[in-house]
Symmetry: C2
Amino acid sequence: MKDRPSRATGRPTLAQVAARAGVSQITASRALRSIATVDPQLATRVHDAAKALAYVPNPAARTLASARSHSILVLVPALSNHLFIETLEAIQDVLRPRGFEVLIGNYHYRQDEEEELIRNYLSHQPCGILLTGFNRSETAARLLANAGVPCVYMMELRQEEGIVCVGFSQEAAGAKVAEHLLSRGRRKLAFVGAQLDARVLQRRDGYQQAIARAGLPPAFEIMTPEPSSVELGGDLFNRLLKEHPNTDGIFFCNDDLAFGASFEALRKGVAIPEQISVVGFNDLPGAGQMVPRLTSVRTPRATIGQHAASSLLSLLCGETPEVTALDLGFKLMVRESS
Amino acid sequence: MKDRPSRATGRPTLAQVAARAGVSQITASRALRSIATVDPQLATRVHDAAKALAYVPNPAARTLASARSHSILVLVPALSNHLFIETLEAIQDVLRPRGFEVLIGNYHYRQDEEEELIRNYLSHQPCGILLTGFNRSETAARLLANAGVPCVYMMELRQEEGIVCVGFSQEAAGAKVAEHLLSRGRRKLAFVGAQLDARVLQRRDGYQQAIARAGLPPAFEIMTPEPSSVELGGDLFNRLLKEHPNTDGIFFCNDDLAFGASFEALRKGVAIPEQISVVGFNDLPGAGQMVPRLTSVRTPRATIGQHAASSLLSLLCGETPEVTALDLGFKLMVRESS
DNA sequence: CGACTTTGAGATAGCGCTACCTTATTAATC
DNA sequence: GATTAATAAGGTAGCGCTATCTCAAAGTCG
């Protein structure tokens, strides 16, 4: 048994820790991984030795030997949206302290890119994957299934055997917005959506259904696949005013669009909320400072990240959560704009 | 020589590729890594075999054997700031197609957290590191130096032997803002800064120096270490108006603060730019849509990421760039607010 | 109380690659 | 034409860990 520092990094190896603790290498390995079958007294000796040598395990060696890394892949459709940043941060706050490394994959709302990322990152043998929603290519889904890596889905809910997900009902949120606008006496409603991912469409559906339930004609829809931006919000608002000048309530699929619309309204002298009520989505920082302060749906994005990460940890321990579809709800923040 | 699929992933191994190509494993390895000493004809055979088997190298094995991974660590002070997201995206656009994996470390503007991230990620033996600015703990700097990993510094410039950096002069940008406000006839200037990192202070210095050069008294400063936010911008603006009601020009250290101030001004009826000129920094998306449209300094954050990544790649090839401090400049976007 | 299980520790053998050394082949030099 | 130098391929031996098997010691039961 050799016990010398690592060739490359010059850092101590497990063999050195074992030698110092006076145990075999494999016992040291087990002790450091907190595997039950090691005597507590020996385990303490090993931990002391590791601390004294400032031992840090070599992740590559660990991954090669065990065929599973300690990294967790998180796939999000965008980083430019503050929404996912907060989710990511919450995930990291849970996983990093427990010794997991978080790999971030941004697929820019593109299925082919997501597929490519999955293909690439699977070669790193992640021990778990966090995914956004359920809408992905057949191939991507098959890759995930074949890999046999535990997955947790975020943002959307689905009651299905073997699927663990954390989110809220996008439909219910859309419905809530419709009910709010109706309660304000608005009757000529519109929906403005961009970057039409599954969740935007679900919100739209919930919104329209609530309007239908109230016995009103469907909301006019302006939808574009372009990426959302403040600027686009202004453009779509102008288009809406031109096509349907008597609109009195608008649900924007996200706050960025609503911000842009608000600026245009200020500029054109369109009175919000007197002439038109405006509601956004996500309650991004800044929504409460807008002029007028923007009504928006606060989504539990940080909490979703936190619970998704925790659920994944449970799965890694072999536990099966009793609640497989965790609904964290949402909150309509009513402000001046409606 | 065994040539069977990987135990864990079931995926083909290098041995299989070699067998199929009728060469030794090491030759296959060299061919796939494009090492010159292999016959072009053999190399083609190897590449064909790899393609036929859909071979993907095992990064853990590669890292363990070569004591160097194919991952590049990028350390940024925040993800919540759109600025760094754009830089990150540009970095990934350069590095991912070349087979490098990008590891993102967010240290939340905290030196101790940066140090911890460096310590942690060095165990993954990254082949290069991209850092933000030069301001870090002694320990962090020593860790980096000892690791012997090529580094490129972003956002700030420093002419120093052996340091490769890509950015722009924060001082010059600050000075440019001062000159612009002075050219608009503003004489009672202020500087409002939050999240006081080195770059904010450099902008402030440049701003004050330009004011001094014009023979005017220094700008009044409101500075707070709190994280920047739209809301904070409004608060600091109100504080400034109370303490120095005759201020006629404000340089906000970033756009978020300027946004918040603009909203407060609208709400209070403070006329921008008639009563006070306002200038932001970074020219975030939305600055051009604000009411009034915000004058801001457009920073080359995407280009910085792109060039920093390219420079790092050069260093990895053993090349030494002739320009070690690449100044990408900036552009003052003059709009309605000034 | 002897056969059986349980438990904790160690020895061994890789994981899938690449560094390094060695050998075979060809080119270059006097 | 013998010696040296350059070049290209292969053999071998790990990288630093963990899975798996083995074995001794201690507990359990009818």
